[in-house]
Assembly symmetry: D3
Homo-oligomer: 247 residues x 6
């Protein structure tokens, strides 16, 4: 299948990630915080600790992690109303996905009866906010766990693996990595992939937006996601190194 | 990988579906209704028509379809409280999945500015309620569309393809089709697959419950889902034939 | 007052009940469940047990019983929206009536600090859903109490009397028993009567829909309800016998 | 049945009403308002007019009347929390009863596409608040309708009949009229009767609080309510006359 | 600045309060209650006691006081809808102001782990309802504290100072005391002042409704409020004396 | 009154503001956005435009402005739960204050039937978040209005004056400007002042946290606020100049 760079709005090659960068510590009172940027998408991620677990989890000596996700009102060209009274299905789906993805790499015994609370507030939404949230929240979580060990709250970091996430999609029949809004809004298939440090899968969610997709198209998309996620994980490690060399 | 039938609670082979049957028309005042049974899981599916579309959809000449899903209080061994005030994330996720899966096979132009409302009320929950809901709701939807054509409301059925859904999972490292609760509750990986009539995919949602899963395990699960979904689609057609021969 | 059978939509005599039947055990995971049919009205009744009582009831050694009632969306020709956020006054009134009627025949001391939870979900609504709910729920409750004794949870059934309910009304000046929707919607007076096994009254709720009614009209209606309720109680006993002979 | 006055807390005879009085016009900005006192029970009733009807009522040229009922927090010895988020079943039941009872005597055509809004706020609750609300609200409604005719808003009063309500009950086997809290809280049967000006019935709601009641007990209670309601209606007319002679 | 009495709707001088009076004890079951009248504004104030404090306050041996405020539906010419689901910002602001103002004069240690609950229900709203609520609630609170001492619940009244409140405003450039609605609705500046018994300030809230105001205008308004509040406090004491001489 | 710098946590003089700075344009899709920093307090302010006004405002040719305020969960050492279902009184009070303060300087006729929506999301809360929100939101609003004129949406900026806000307080009897949390939490009096460009007042809200305050103390606080607000307004103008020189 011939692919040409001019297909993409911003001149990227089909297998190319958007520029990735991290601004550390915008919320000085949180356990850890950062803004993750993937292209024009930006998400404020923070981690707080609570010294207890939800009621149904009590008495087992195990910790918990939960996540909240919101689009800030000014994050999109058309203002987003804040969700009061009830959360939309989309918001709930995304925060459940973030929570599940990160719980998969937390050793709940090491954490003990404490809860790690992740907040992902989208500042700028140019598609891929759920995957950017996961990728950014993992970095903030890593930072938070290191702090808890430094502060002597925990003996050992409960974080046992790396996590990153990316979207891939079929646009005009072509598989593209890390869609921006102009691509995402006309994708025929949209696939979100969450991966652990060893390249195995934690979550895979694919939806036919236009027409059904074949097994071979699914494989093509997964083949594109794999190296993209490896690059993202490298970018995560680099963001951490740069941060550490400063602080 | 050696697989032996004795692994399954009810004696099924790994690639065997649970018994599938349909009770037609329990709700005489709805446009169409049925109870779908897959093993001990039972879901009451009904379809209603509304002569208008949601506000944001108006004026385009296109129809809409939306779905609601609930566990009835007595559907599980431990009573389910009804969801008042707000829907749980799980409920919202499932009804969004049902709606997306069925919208994918509706020609919204043929439907015109009308809404098809699908209700899936689980009567007995032995795992697989979301996939049973999709498989059953498609049958009810097919019946509803035929009635609308017969009644002269629509000229042509807006239903353009068949839809069925099934769960597959890794239990003790073994890939199993159509998990019941005893299997689902200890699965390491849980994958829901929604398929169109030509065997292509509409939705795929996989979650690592215990440990990450590899691409080859994903393929093994999809290889198991494919023939299962073909059988289910055949069972759908047979259920329809039996019903038609009666009415 | 001359009364002719042709007054009734379905050819019944004024003092004739609609056909009554019971489908047992549609919800295999509930303590007991059934669908009660009175004419075209059908209600799914189930009973669950909870091992505690509401907070305000604690520490007295007494049990509790509460009831929930809903119209399922497809139960009426025009789809019923589910009640979220708040219950309608009608729904609350009905579930309070069901709860009061059944609590009247439960020995709370024998039940101990446990709660019996009754759910009445209307599948098909052709008037008389509140009285059918009471009549059906009593049967399910009887079955549930027997099971609790069999399972050794209770020493003795806490159910001390039989309960059935029926509606009577004045339509075109004529007293009719067990109104269907075509009759109920044009009734001048609507009276619901709940009766205990010995023929005495548990609840009586009469409303002038059109014009006020006299004491003698009230008596005429009650005279009609009495034998109707006796027949219903016989039908309840018969439904139980048929069920027992099967299981 | 022998009855002795010493049975009643306040020395009343079984067939005696509590002292009835009216304070007119506490809310100077409402269309009409009053406080109705029956013994120690006191309810603030007011009527407002809205120049439109509910959406579902539009375009028929007919008016509407609706009622709201609340216990003010300080109305009972134990403070009542205000009902936020959702109304209790009791509150909804009562305001539906008040609304139905008063709608029964309004000529909706004469009212035209306007809504009469009744508010009953209980200031002091010594039982019988729902019947006092109806009796008081009728007086306020009468006053409001006269004002609307005087102001030229309506040509003719839409109020076509008188309405009053009272409770009767069985206490220690004895039928008592107009129960106060000390009686109501230990009544075996509680019956609320709403009556029109000609002595016919608008609403009758009887509940067995302890044991079932017989037809003859029901008749005994209704025999007690009838003269009580006649006296109440006379008291309503007298309250109106006294008010008119002042203003 | 020349000021002429004809500026005011009701003929008052700029520095003149509206007539102030109190009706004692309309709610016989509350710990204390009264209706406070300032001109045509009337507020029903009541005080209840709860034998515990909010959860976050437990275990310190200190009491608490909280206040609720509502406009009753008939209190304004245009009916006020009751606030369900959520309180308006205005309502919350006012009840927080009432609570803060009265907590400032309660010795929480003397009160012990109990909560005083203040309810202010506006019966007639002709502006100044928040200041009338504070002035009236203080009187009711004083009465309640005396009762608690008399009843032996408290050894010593926890009320340590007097509180009164008044509004002042600039209308057509002129400073006026105790605005009624006709004045308040066209005031350029609106200032609410809450004062303790020694003339010092507890709360001051000023808002430019039309144009900004200068420091000298602020001083002019405060100069007007001071003697007004002294008169109000005298009126409070007199209302108490009159009440005591009766009871 | 002798004042020594050592009173303040961070070494400031009593009359000294915290360092003020602005980060422009963090939300690229909003009409305008910025983060305002005053010491360790940081607020993300953004402005969106909606092409209509609230229903009650329609048809007058006038615009509207409304404001929302939230503490982001990670903005405080102890995580803030998001406000769902209902806003706290504090949040409502603050967003009403922000809205009123900014509406006071908008020419609603020039704006036409459009709504300016202000969002203030606190990133870091070290006291003074409401005043920082006002000061920052004014800058964002100025930027937004300039953009609307540049884009040709408006002919002339509707912003007619400058607005800034600051808190002053009495701490240990000493008047301090621009309190941080360590000071605010032990202040006896807390006063928020909102000022227009000509030095006149828009809002003044003073609360006795510990003991009542005198007129002379009030004057001392206002004397401190005035030069502080002049400096803040200069800082606003400088922030604008720096931003303009870049873009």
């Amino acid at each position: 299948m011939s692919q040409s760079p001019e297909h993409r709005t911003d001149g990227r090659r089909p297998e190319q990630l958007r520029p990735f960068s991290v601004t550390w510590n915008p919320m000085g009172f949180a356990l850890s915080s950062l803004v993750v940027h993937t292209g024009r998408t930006a998400v404020l991620c923070s981690v707080c600790l609570e010294g207890k677990v939800p009621r149904w989890r009590k008495g087992e000596g195990l910790g918990w992690l939960s996540a909240e996700y919101r689009l800030l009102p000014g994050s999109t060209p058309q203002r987003q109303s804040r969700e009061l009274m009830k959360l939309s299905g989309r918001t709930q789906e995304i925060q459940r996905l973030i929570g599940r993805s990160l719980r998969a790499v937390i050793d709940m015994e090491r954490l003990g009866e404490r809860t790690l609370l992740i907040d992902c507030d989208v500042i700028q939404a140019d598609a891929g906010t759920r995957t950017a949230s996961i990728t950014g929240a993992w970095l903030a979580l890593d930072q938070a766990c290191r702090s808890l060990v430094e502060q002597g709250v925990l003996e050992q970091s409960p974080l046992v693996d790396q996590v990153a996430a990316v979207s891939v999609g079929l646009v005009d029949g072509q598989a593209l990595l890390d869609l921006d809004y102009s691509e995402d809004s006309r994708a025929e298939v949209d696939l979100n992939v969450v991966q652990a440090g060893d390249g195995r899968l934690l979550e895979i969610q694919g939806t036919a937006e236009g027409a059904p997709f074949s097994r071979s198209q699914l494989n093509e998309l997964l083949d594109l996601a794999e190296p993209g996620l490896s690059s993202l994980m490298q970018a995560q490690r680099q963001a951490f190194t740069e941060h550490s060399s400063v602080t």
